[in-house]
């Protein structure tokens, strides 16, 4: 095959995917930036160039700051917990334990269920007076009744629990794969040396799981800014935006208030966060080239 042919064939093979990627990933990123400098066209009045006006509105918008804070808090609350649980689950399921098949099934099941469906189940769980949680806390323990999703101080935690429950089993799979790649001879050697299990985990297993942890971490960060399905079902961001996350706020602004210009400015913030996490990941990836 001559060189010119290789050029043409290569590009032709890539073309369909490249066109669609450009249309639905690269173009929208640039268009979002462009539209974030314009006003929302309304009632026959076309969009005007307004410069940084949307960003000024954003900085002065208390809801934006609240939502951003919620999202950071949400990420800080869900990511370490789901990673820790995922490692624990993977170690249990990887070892000799009674009923291993059932355990693995139980941990993994939330992953295959639609978020929207499990959100309905959890909504029922949290329902005041006759939900399961209230039956436990009020009926069994005799605590005072509490509206879990209707109270500003508890609603975000309730959503965090749902997310941790949904994601831990998914991350477990990656740790399970990594654990199975660790040679058993390491564990045997450590046992001969008389190392305890916790010591072995801290000094051998956990460092060897680092690449997996990094991969899972990046996925978890993206998910914490991407997955808002349960908010639509359970709280609609309320009460008083206490459970609204950035993407949900974008959805509200863009498709309920139809303020597409402001939604574009908000999207730029989201894109900046995702880009920053990408750059961090590449900085770390550089250091583990041997692993690739």
């Amino acid at each position: 095959m001559n060189r010119a042919n290789a050029q043409i064939h290569g590009w032709l093979l890539l073309l369909p995917a490249a066109v669609l990627l450009a249309l639905f990933t690269h173009y929208p990123v640039l268009a979002t930036l462009w539209h974030s400098f314009q006003s929302t066209p309304r009632g026959g009045r076309p969009a005007d160039w307004v410069g940084l006006e949307n960003y000024r509105a954003l900085i002065e918008d208390p809801v934006f700051w609240q939502v951003l804070g919620n999202n950071l808090w949400f990420a800080a609350g869900t990511i370490p917990a789901s990673i820790a649980l995922a490692i624990l689950m993977a170690i249990w399921v990887n070892g000799k334990i009674a009923g291993r098949g059932f355990l693995r099934l139980a941990y993994f099941v939330p992953t295959v269920l639609p978020m929207i469906a499990v959100a309905n189940i959890w909504l029922f769980f949290y329902t005041p007076t006759y939900g399961l949680l209230e039956q436990l806390t009020v009926g069994l323990l005799g605590l005072p009744s509490h509206n879990w999703l209707g109270t500003k101080s508890t609603v975000l935690y309730c959503l965090m629990v749902v997310t941790i429950w949904k994601e831990a089993g998914f991350f477990m799979i990656f740790y399970l794969a990594a654990l199975q790649a660790i040679p058993p001879s390491l564990g045997e050697a450590a046992a001969i040396e008389g190392a305890g299990r916790w010591y072995y985990f801290r000094r051998v297993t956990f460092p060897l799981l680092m690449p997996t942890t990094l991969f899972v971490l990046v996925n978890a960060v993206i998910n914490s800014f991407r997955l808002v399905d349960h908010i639509v079902v359970m709280t609609r961001g309320g009460p008083d935006n206490a459970s609204s996350l950035l993407l949900y706020y974008i959805y509200d602004v863009g498709f309920k208030f139809w303020d597409s210009a402001y939604a574009s400015a908000l999207t730029m913030v989201l894109l900046a966060i995702l880009a920053a996490s990408a750059i961090l990941q590449f900085a770390f990836l550089e250091r583990r080239i041997h692993y690739q």
Binding site: T32, I97, L105, M115, A117, Q135, F174, A177, T267
Partner: protein, 266 residues
């Protein structure tokens, strides 16, 4: 001793993890008056499923989801295969730049670009169609990346041997690369189907009639409707929506777990 404690811990966690689903099963298969009462003598019933099925056009939603998921998967496999082949076996100008541009989608998924993508769909006159739900996902960076990694492990000699026998590039792809990558195709298919069966926000935004709504959106419209909160019917509808994936998962548990593993190892 610690082993026994660990086993107890593992089981407690598993029971906690399965509890919401068990609770949903209890409610869906018993009459409404037992929705919040646990009584082992409660009669079993399928009436909640019948009521849910009759209360909303679930048959149509099912058909839409099946169509959506198969269209996306089919198109994704074709596009990703061609692109991965180009990246693995062709030297062309701008290849590395193009690959970097593909990888951008791993970070910035269509899920977060809903505002602009809606604008594009409106301009193309495609809103409220199944095509509009699927189109942004059809070129999948994840699929291209996964297949490229796989194609790279296939010995160049096999490729060259086939070419010496007179096979063109597409025949080499079809007869050498695709068959040897079967497990990865299966892994990708399972991940893609469960992702798009479950996807919600974008379909919610871009559809607004029964004719194009997938199950997830249909379920949301149904359960937030004003027929009063009948938990028995809502949980029945919820289980129906997740049913096919759940059954498939129980049947092919091993493949599912291995697929998700394979998709994650890079």
């Amino acid at each position: 001793m610690t082993r026994a404690l660990e086993a107890i811990g593992a089981w407690l966690l598993a029971i906690l993890w399965i509890l919401p689903l068990a609770y949903a099963f209890w409610t869906a298969f018993h009459p409404p008056e037992f929705a919040t009462r646990f009584d082992l003598s409660a009669p079993l019933t399928l009436q909640n499923f019948v009521n849910a099925w009759n209360a909303a056009p679930f048959a149509r939603y099912f058909a839409n989801t099946v169509l959506l998921v198969s269209l996306i998967l089919g198109a994704q496999l074709v596009l990703a295969t061609l692109a991965a082949y180009a990246f693995t076996r062709y030297e062309f100008y701008g290849r590395d730049v193009m690959f970097a541009l593909v990888l951008v989608q791993l970070m910035i998924m269509p899920d977060v670009l809903v505002v602009e993508n809606y604008r594009t769909m409106a301009a193309l006159n495609l809103t409220d169609t199944i095509t509009a739900i699927g189109l942004p996902y059809v070129a999948s960076a994840f699929g291209i990346f996964l297949l490229r990694q796989t194609f790279k492990t296939i010995p160049l000699e096999l490729d060259e041997a086939a070419r010496v026998e007179g096979a063109g590039p597409l025949r080499v792809l079809w007869e050498v690369y695709v068959p040897l990558s079967r497990p990865v195709y299966i892994a990708y298919a399972l991940v893609s189907v469960s992702y798009h069966w479950n996807n919600f926000l974008w379909p919610l935004i871009v559809t607004n009639t029964v004719g194009s709504r997938p199950l997830t959106v249909g379920l949301q419209v149904f359960s937030s409707g004003d027929q009063g909160i009948d938990w028995s019917i809502i949980t029945a509808a919820t289980l129906m929506t997740s049913g096919p994936l759940l059954v498939a998962f129980l049947l092919f548990q091993r493949q599912f777990v291995q697929s998700f593993m394979r998709a994650g190892i890079r």
